[in-house]
Symmetry: none
Subunit: 218 residues, 4 copies
């Protein structure tokens, strides 16, 4: 199995690279299709066509429609969670962490509305397995926030609080705004809502206002 001929190995490597490439292309196509048509309405034919391959080709890379969606969800969730975690790590104090996380999420979703739709709308009613996966993603995300809240509490920056519930509420406030935007297109620029949303969340969590910044909309 280990490179009997260099040619075989080279070709195998090339093959693997190609396979990975095609896999990615299928995932990209799937994102576009699931977003445009919805999970149920989207057909494997749609995906195959969008990926410029055949139905059989899709089935070679993914065992089924559900697993395709799941893979897509995972890939997207990893991106979202990783970016958020990085942003949280970069910021020093709790207030800054909150701000940064908020910015990352809003920016990410603004840039990838399709992805937002996938998460917030389509995945919810797709299938039990997908629903489960989505719940998991939400939990991981809320967990990220909760951890920070615990740290902030221990540092004495914020008062006593139920970190899980607070994180969920925080997540939900953000979530609802994005969902409305995804579904209705309003506000036209999602990021413009950031300052006010930041203020609301800070107040909810009991993070003291840093005073200086942002255009108070008194």
């Amino acid at each position: 199995m280990s490179g009997s001929t260099s040619q075989g190995a080279a070709s195998s490597e090339t093959m693997q690279a190609r396979a990975r490439e095609r896999r990615e292309r299928i995932l990209d196509a799937a994102l576009e299709v699931f977003t445009r048509r919805g999970y149920r309405e989207a057909t494997m034919d749609d995906v195959a066509e969008a990926a410029a391959t055949s139905k059989g080709g899709v089935y070679f890379h993914f065992p089924g429609k559900e697993q395709l969606f799941l893979a897509l969800l995972e890939r997207s969730a990893d991106l979202l969670l990783q970016r958020t975690a990085e942003a949280l790590a970069r910021a020093s104090d709790p207030a800054a962490k909150l701000d940064t996380a908020l910015d990352v999420v809003l920016r990410l979703f603004t840039a990838h509305r399709a992805l937002a739709r996938l998460f917030l709308v389509e995945a919810l009613a797709a299938s039990p397995a997908i629903q489960g996966a989505l719940v998991d993603v939400r939990r991981r995300f809320a967990g990220l926030i909760a951890r920070e809240l615990i740290a902030a509490r221990e540092a004495g920056v914020i008062g006593p609080i139920d970190p899980d519930l607070a994180a969920t509420a925080c997540f939900g406030a953000l979530y609802e705004g994005v969902t409305q935007w995804v579904l209705t297109g309003q506000p036209a620029d999602l990021e413009q809502a950031a300052p006010e949303l930041r203020r609301l969340l800070r107040r909810m969590l009991g993070i003291p206002d840093s005073g200086k910044e942002d255009d108070a909309r008194s």
Copy 2:
């Protein structure tokens, strides 16, 4: 008015009453089925069977699956919004209004988890028309809150605030909690989360803590 026509009228009235009754029975059955199987998985056969009628009977009362769901959504939304509006009207000061509205919603959803699931999960990815209707319901609900926030602001009870965004955030925090409960069953008792949620929302909105109360649902 009496006399020769009364018989005809009576029979017609009876018919209409029966028809209305059957229509309600179908809606009840539809709620049960859509809840148990999800919008997409549910079939009109299921609904007919659950309503102890025939497929044709369902189609006599509703022109299609989507319209059936829409009718159901409307009926349920009216109930939810009306109850909440009543509760808001009963309470006097903003803090009490928030508390009461929260209680009503949590109690309603706790009592009708099926309905909650229908609203929060299934409807979202059902079809564009249903999605639109759902967005509308969410907006009406957020509007209810926004109106109160404006009143509270004018009464000087709370500070300057963007009422729409705040209402959306408020709604979202609540929504997310209920959704988690619907999807995961946690917390086991949704209403137990009320006091802490109340505290968070109050803080977010800037409603002064009345001190004494909480976890006493006196």
Copy 3:
């Protein structure tokens, strides 16, 4: 049964008159609907609505859809055949008979395009029973022509001829022109084709040209 009370008798007569009236109204509505939607596409609901009555009402007067169509066909065929027979009786010589019959048919169909459609198009593929009825009508009509041809032959006005085949051909030539008109709307004025058609049929049957008349389209 014989007028026990004048009131009863009167009301019964009135009833019968009303019933006949309604029956006619339903037939009129059926003609309109079958013509507009085609036999298969037309529903009993359509007919009932067009007749401003209820489905049950239609079923009271006619045992079923097929019988309704049959009754309509018969009523229309009677009209067509009777008018043609009258016209044939009025004319004296074979040439005049042909001319008159042609005029009657073209005028009748021009005035009642719906009826023409019913005969020439819808009835053909409706159901075996209806097809049988239609074949019968065609035969009766062709028979009308054939009888005249036999008489003309016996009178020595025309040469030897197979009367049945000639009648069928005659009928078909006419039929095809009307069908094209029904299906395509061309020629815009069906009756304008009469002179040329008359000339063709005369020649086919061997009826000598009366010379004088009509604008030769050389």
Copy 4:
């Protein structure tokens, strides 16, 4: 061109050949089924079964029932028109052309009564699209005749005539005879009617009788 790709090409060619074969098999089956049951009564299940394939297979090759019928109509019309055109081209003088065309049509329909039924009866009331297609076929056929009439007129073989109307009448006479035969089975042998029909049409068109031939049925 040979070598590594030849295998792929060969397999692809094989596939295509098989697919084309299957497509033809479905068309053959459809002809049989539509003829036996009529357009409306025939179900896609019937067609699939008759083609020894699955419903999905039929839908793979044809997008729907109507398009299947349309494809069938086209295939059959092409056959009929082409044969007739060839026959017309083979004959030299107008009289011979008429004779040959008549023979071809009668022979073709006699041999394929199912096909005749499809054309003359079922297609007429099937659906607007099918109706349109059928009108088109009729027109093309009448056009074939009209062209010959114009040529004959220019050659001075026949007198002044409206070629379109004459062609339609000619076509109609033939059509009606065949339709009667399709619907009633009479005459038992369609081709036996040829001589007399020929005489009638010749006379109608003003083509001089060649004198010698045919068993005059005086």
